[in-house]
Point group: C2
Chain length 331, copies 2
Amino acid sequence: MALYVLDSTILRLCHAQADLRIDGEQRKVDVCLTRSVYKTYGHGYGPTQGIFQSAATLSRQIPTPSTTHIEMPEPIIFYDIPSQGTALKAWSPNTWKTRYTLNIKGIPYKTVWVDYPDIEPLMRKIGALPTDTKANGAPHYTLPAIYDPNTKTALAESALIAHYLDKTYPDTPRLIPAGTAALHAAFTQAFFTVLVKALLPITIPATADHLPPRSEAYFRATREVIFGGPLQELAPPGPKREKHWAEVKKAFATFAQWLQADGVDKPFFLGDKIGYADVTVASFTVWIRIVLGEDSKEWADLKTWDGGRWVTYMDAFKKYEYVDAGEAVVL
Amino acid sequence: MALYVLDSTILRLCHAQADLRIDGEQRKVDVCLTRSVYKTYGHGYGPTQGIFQSAATLSRQIPTPSTTHIEMPEPIIFYDIPSQGTALKAWSPNTWKTRYTLNIKGIPYKTVWVDYPDIEPLMRKIGALPTDTKANGAPHYTLPAIYDPNTKTALAESALIAHYLDKTYPDTPRLIPAGTAALHAAFTQAFFTVLVKALLPITIPATADHLPPRSEAYFRATREVIFGGPLQELAPPGPKREKHWAEVKKAFATFAQWLQADGVDKPFFLGDKIGYADVTVASFTVWIRIVLGEDSKEWADLKTWDGGRWVTYMDAFKKYEYVDAGEAVVL
């Protein structure tokens, strides 16, 4: 057994509830948000002190297989959240991290599509550990998650999944090479601070429009509690949107600077090969492309940034954007 | 020539002035602060929009020596800021990063001690590039800086110095190994977000008490503009200080989590050997130890955190804490 500890970046705060009419009944849904999002967007809540869970409560153990080489006869089950589109059902930046990971590693898998309201019952059923603890002490479940029938392992959270797959299938490309685990954890924190906070007001409303009805109702109800109002008011066309978008541009410029930090411009964070930091950047970039659309003003804009480097960057991920037809979850 | 770009973490904002009586005359001194500090502590200023310099203006070129192996016949000159103490004159977390770097690499050097008001004229004299641009477009100079007589290179900013020394003296321990430059740049951002903001209200006032008169006057005048009031009010004994200190403890707990991100607890960020991320953590930890004192309640407290791991961690740096007598700067 290896001890995995979630870093503070993905600590989420679940201290508010949203009212939601779903599947014909009125429900109360816990609303969770990261500490960082709370600080930026946490309108109308009470004082934050004392409501965050201690990091220690989020430590977890996941099984490490006793053999070092697993034959992988059976495809991994990959749980993803579908959009309403039929062209490209995968849209979530968090689950894209795991999809890219699986595709880069060439590990056979099958997608099972899960609407938001079904995540918790499914995770309980397969025995995936929660990624968060709610304010009332109850577990909170999120996707991505996988079930690996070869090791009988259910596991949630994209970085933990990447670590698990690196270890369990050592003959596949390693995304978090030896000696970079701690730096990758720090990267996750930095990535959130630099990009995600600026990006959410633009991509969250677009995401709501992109979801099938059951997920959309859940998503709007919970996100409107987080952001303190109707999602369409977060970044409507005009100066407010332009300000957020300018911050997104600045974030990508910062990543471009990091890629040349030693004086030599590199294509990827590890140098010449794609690593988990790149998978993170690409997953959020593909989110922008999918929910705003390839024909959007923003996507056209992004392609010109930093000398066009993000076009080249995303081109390198094209061959890892395979989305199988998959099947709907059966609870 | 290699192009070095400062990452956004160390972008500083210089848009206010402090009045200061120094060397018998009344002077106005530009006050610079990082964007992040500004957001947290920037009391009483006007709107921030538009006053930050573009990152692009901070690109700089530093010479890369044409030979790959420099014989290093002459010691490097290392410019540091002295405390008023005689026991351990080195105190600054930023210059400690370079001192640790030089000591770990075993590169011969000689310290030249520079009081705050003398930094700018000295840097102009030796031709070190500024690390910041002031709001009025004028260059802003900071320490650490080095002058390497073997390559006739003057260079400021601790990460750039580490990159330069890694490249110029490749037979010495490399602190930013191949494939980790971009992740180290992200680490610097994450480190600032997680620790530095929480730490400053505690260590800045203690630092002022630790400086010789000319530096203290400069330091107090500039920092009181940044923090919007007397330094002793930032974290006086009581609940305000305890709140900041609890955040510092949480920051160290986050670092401890990062060090076990792949399920195996590591002594250092790169695994078994000290790298530049560790040098950064150690430099800020030694700052706490020096300005608060080994007998302080805080230092006793820190030694108990995370199962005592920071004692072990800092013990590994003990042998790199050499401070030569050095000499006072001659302008």
